[in-house]
Symmetry: D2
Subunit: 363 residues, 4 copies
């Protein structure tokens, strides 16, 4: 229990990293949305391993299949089930994992909670679990785009201490996808790629910050007090593997300002709508969207799996030393970008439906 997200646009993901399949059931999707497996595949391809020299070289095609909920290329309003088969497991790669707890992985805590786990890979705690989220996010994005032209664009804002300069109000998907690290600041991007390769060659790993913006979001979305938009966004982001922090708008840095510096003054624009001159709020006030761009940031820790030797214990308490073999991401950030976008799309789509109902969105 805990594998369902959303209230009206509601997804349930399933699947371990090895054995069978991973996937998602989307319940509450409005009817008559045109969607193809190819559109979903575009997002899955941004997430999948082996896409560049700075991600894990594991080759997984991750081809999705739509099992239900779509007929003649359009959604039915019924549950959409999407599945991606796992490749054949290679248990020999994972024999050590049956007994040895990898530091800062979830092996030990899963054993503690369930008394049993699929030790062929990370099981349910693997980032592979996010395939279902990204697939569902592709549909959510389409609904948002179709309803109000909403654009959701994520990018790598920082890798370790390499900060980029990006304008969330104007950044484009093309800029993001123009390099393999998904940082639309070309100069910073090159530094990031160099750093990741250097760290990888050392058998180590690094983390960083993903920023994500949603533009053209209608006013009025969010359900105070517990389902404030930023609360649901925080939950979505902090449920992603390796996330350690979440910010909206000014975030932690905003605490250094005074109220008179931080407040967003209102004005009336040429169309008669109220707007704010600045956007330290990050697109919501009191948990409800104010029509300005929604800007969030997510901190991802350095990948836990490293080739460097580490002290640890086995499940019977014996001290041992572990050095990861196999193929791993030295930095999850480039692949985390579509995950953060997906969570933002899912939250926005859910609140859009809360506002409008499942079936009357476009009428």
């Amino acid at each position: 229990m805990g594998n369902t997200f959303g209230h009206l646009f509601r997804i349930t993901t399933f699947g371990e990293s090895h054995g069978g399949a991973v996937g998602v059931v989307i319940d509450g999707c409005p009817p008559q949305i045109e969607i193809t497996p190819e559109e979903i595949q575009v997002e899955l391809d941004r997430r999948r391993p082996g896409q560049s020299k700075i991600t894990t070289p594991r080759k997984e095609a991750d081809r999705c299949e739509i099992l239900s909920g779509v007929f003649q290329g359009k959604t039915l309003g019924t549950p959409i089930s999407i599945m991606v088969r796992n490749k054949d497991t290679r248990p020999q790669d994972y024999s050590e994992m049956a007994t040895t707890y990898r530091p800062s992985h979830a092996d030990a805590t899963y054993d503690s909670k369930y008394g049993f786990r699929n030790y062929q890979g990370g099981g349910r705690s693997s980032a592979r679990e996010t395939i279902g989220r990204v697939a569902a996010g592709a549909i959510a994005k389409k609904i948002l785009q179709q309803y109000a032209g909403v654009e959701i664009i994520g990018y790598v804002k920082r890798i370790q201490d390499i900060e980029s300069v990006i304008d969330p109000d104007t950044v484009t998907l093309e800029q993001v996808e123009s390099n393999i690290v998904r940082c639309p600041d070309a100069e910073a991007a090159q530094h990031m790629i160099d750093r990741i390769e250097q760290i990888r060659d050392q058998g180590d790993s690094i983390g960083g910050v993903v920023e994500c913006v949603a533009r053209r979001v209608p006013k009025g979305l969010g359900s105070p007090v517990f389902d404030k938009l930023e609360a649901d966004l925080a939950k979505g982001v902090m449920s992603l593997p390796a996330s350690k922090g979440f910010e909206l708008g000014s975030g932690f840095a905003g605490t250094l300002l005074t109220g008179s510096q931080h407040n967003d003054e209102y004005y009336t624009d040429e169309t008669g709508n109220w707007r704010t001159r600045t956007n330290r709020s990050g697109g919501t006030q009191g948990g409800i969207t104010n029509g300005e761009n929604i800007i969030i940031r997510a901190a991802f820790k350095p990948t836990a799996t490293i080739r460097k030797a580490q002290n640890t214990v086995t499940n019977d308490g014996t001290a041992t030393v572990l050095a990861a073999r196999g193929r791993h991401d030295p930095c999850v950030l480039p692949r985390a970008v579509p995950m953060v976008e997906a969570m933002m799309a899912l939250v926005l789509c859910d609140h859009l439906l809360r506002h409008h109902g499942q079936c009357r969105l476009f009428s």
Copy 2:
């Protein structure tokens, strides 16, 4: 919709800042827990306005009444309803608010969403809404304490740029309550108090960071993948008024480390239990508690209400200038401490019950 939090230990809060009452219904509380209004009042008194010279001078006694769910001093296992009456409203203080949107407040977004709002104060977006959370948190704390000796201690970690030095592993409630700013680092505390008074006298406001630790939490709590413990903590914290950021363990700073620096190595302690030597994870791995201290941080923006004049608009789009009158907190941090503690207690208690069921916690 959106005023319920938790899955098995589930609270629903109600109430605007003016008119009638604020309160909470707690559904799913285990039976036979001893609880008195006085114990709840202790926490409410830490939250209430007028408690010191650096909070708003508004005097509100905020006396709670238990309406249901408790019999002969013990919980029944049925819904516990707790109510605090609002004091008489003074509409004349708020007439301007009926039409003028306060910058970085939720007046405009509530109007946008609902087309109507209680303009006598912040209505539902007022921090007064948190009374129900803090009351429920008092009961959650008691259950956690009784079940496993869990201690939850929050404190002000930083005010604007005044950083304190506090050891979350040893800090005590007494130390926290030893000064009015709730910062257990005495020297930093004095700087903070001075800064708050100075800012207040300028008619401005400031923010900062609350840190909160939970100690002696059993291993195994948290429900991946969406209801990971940190995801629910993030949602709880980011649903508090004025929160802009959330971190667990190493948080954003952890992104500057490499994996070999960041990973928490395991060892076996004298009782045969696995432990981690460091705690950059902040008490969870893969969304499940690992028995180490849970450490979170919450960023709170500077209070939106300031006496300084600001540009804004009215609900008919007319430009105007607003300078708050009345009595306001120059800094919400001291009063936010019990709110963050409450959210942490509610999340932990919910996951404790998911693990053990409502009725068999103590059997």
Copy 3:
């Protein structure tokens, strides 16, 4: 946990029969609905004890107070909390109940589940719990009426073996309220009243069937497959105290027909809408409303509390004999009518909002 009903129009009830108060929090109510305590009181007065010679003579005024969510006579879109104070308990009346299990009451099962109960009356299993439902139902009725002129009318269809003849398509509230048994068939009503008085004088009790119709319900409400309209109606009705059965449309009797006798043939009416010539379906097909009248029936068992002596046991297992003292309903049916109406209104309103969203119902 288990005291919340509904998904978008969501109520949480609280309160035991004695001590404190009973009430409800309604979350998700659309904004700008005009509602007064008096309108709610009308429904509560139909439910309250002491309203006629065939209900319990206990006098309880059951005056409701709206604590939140309404401002200047209109809903805010925020949680509406409604409370009714319990009268002073008279513990001496209930001392025997602390230890003796009343046959076919919930004393024993509550003890079994919670290990503890409020023995001053039925506690949470008392029909007094339905006050919150009826209060919330009053608001739901108003929304439905305002949105589409929906009328919900319940009545006593049968008392024991006294069957009435009533046309659900034309019956009026005035007819229902024209006699104290709430049976709009005047001749049957008199027989029912006589029977109830006779049974009451014998120290015994009787049950019967309530029928309830909803007219002018829009097509398209209901969320297959689990939240089919009839599934939610069944849950609502079967959660009422003393209910033992639920039917929609043809119900159990429909199983005696063949398909060709039972099917509702379609035709096109003068406005071009599809309709059904008969209504054995009872207003839904596949869990979705078809625009025909929704007709349900609920079976209520004879009141468990009787003056006749019965064998039972105490909580320590000792055999004993119990004869109820005090004031009790010889037949719950007349007071159950507003409860069934309330559950139907709550279900319909919830599904109306699922279809249209909370805030755009009237725009």
Copy 4:
């Protein structure tokens, strides 16, 4: 939205009758339960078409595949996804259905709600949707059996007016499965089979009543007031295709008795436990199990699909006449038995986990 059932043992079903697959995701299943596809298949085979001469002659193997949540033959505590592929569609059989509304089917209401439907068969309103329920029910049954030896046995109680005599306290699965109509009263069973064949040959259909008993259920399950055990059972049963009524214990017939006749007197058995001498309550009091057998009945209408010609309309309002071709069940009752059992198992398992938590059921 509406395709999830249960709170802690929570299932989400997906799939239309044609195209892709049908299936279920089970979230919250306790870990370390041994389960094989073969065990699930046993239940699916009781549900599948083509199993006897009185069911539809459509041949569907309905082989299930477990996609996730099971490792080395045991549950992981993570979501269990089970899928059954649909056979190749034969669109030519269904061309008429694209435009013509079948009487008492959900074609018209789905069109009304979603504006679009999969007209190749019943889509989501097909009984094929129950495959996921029955698969999940197989696991729920196993948990209940393993936890407390709970037995759940359903059977056909009545077909049209052919009533059987069956003792719910002693009936066995073997007796139920001893004939193709699943009525353990051999003489009545033969009458039922004859009647079904006769009606089938007339191109018509019939309905009836399924009764289902759960034995050895622990005391204390059920979550008043809305999630009373009978309320959740009613919802489960009334969400099944073709169901029109639900009863617990004495049901509608109980309304003919007086309280003194209906009440279940308590006694203390040889082991010191309180029991009831009769069981008109049907195994619950106040919504909580009392340890007696839980007995429910479900009314199923005659199958809507018949070969006899019926008047209807097309989706553009044109009057037409429809006579079903293809292969259909003349009576759903024999195949409904495992469906009712599954819903009862799911409800009981959910409430068992609410009581005990997901992970500590067997510790």
